[in-house]
Subunit: 138 residues, 2 copies
């Protein structure tokens, strides 16, 4: 069983048809070793740097997009500034706290959306995103 001891990140990447390079394995570890998380490219890059991995920001962007294309991540658009990537690819929604740029999950099973009209002719629904925008209680 070649390469099974560093976690199965290399395996996970191979399944996704991505060569398990040092950079991708390091990013996969940061993303998938623990609980589900939400990251921006810039923050993941900083985290990688902190954990001793030297890789370019371009590689972080490349990898995040490749992981997304492979279904390992999804993008969450809540913020006009930066794109957030989410390791939770199941159906769920988000709390978003603007001051603090903080995203947290709302389990999908709990939320029901009723009364949506059907998709316009020639289109179909790809996904329904709910974002609950929070402000601090003043």
């Amino acid at each position: 069983m070649p390469g099974a001891q560093k976690g199965d990140f290399a395996a996970k990447l191979r399944v996704a048809q991505l060569r398990p390079t040092k950079q991708r394995v390091a990013l996969a570890r940061l993303l998938f070793a623990g609980a589900d998380r939400h990251v921006t490219a810039e923050r993941l890059h900083a985290e990688a740097a902190n954990s001793g991995v030297r890789l370019s920001l371009a590689t972080v962007y490349n990898s995040l997009h490749q992981f997304t294309a492979a279904g390992l991540l999804r993008q969450v658009i809540v913020d006009g500034e930066k794109t957030h990537f989410d390791t939770n690819t199941g159906e769920h929604h988000h709390f978003y706290f603007e001051g603090g740029d903080l995203l947290t999950d709302i389990p999908g099973g709990d939320v029901r959306i009723e009364g949506l009209p059907r998709a316009p002719a020639g289109t179909e629904i790809e996904r329904v995103d709910v974002v609950v925008r929070l402000k601090s209680r003043g």
Copy 2:
């Protein structure tokens, strides 16, 4: 009744404590003369140019933000690239068609969202946004 004949756009601006300059009145007309609409800064700028108004893109951005602060517009974040501004400030949701960058309204009264957990401690819900992402039927 000074300045009532060009539509009440100047009046609308005065109520919002904004000087009814030529530029702002022109933008207000484009935005508020007809049915509700969704625009980006770039598109509104192009439209203004087409309709013979010469104004800078910076002024379009300034005005859109001032109108938003005044409650005449709201922002809709559906797209990592550009910010959309919405003349419909009532409670409602959106269909978003990515290929085509097209936003359309889903009346708010029709949609019910149930099962949302309550806001985390120290925060309160500012707004709940639902975006139904569409793709063309293949």
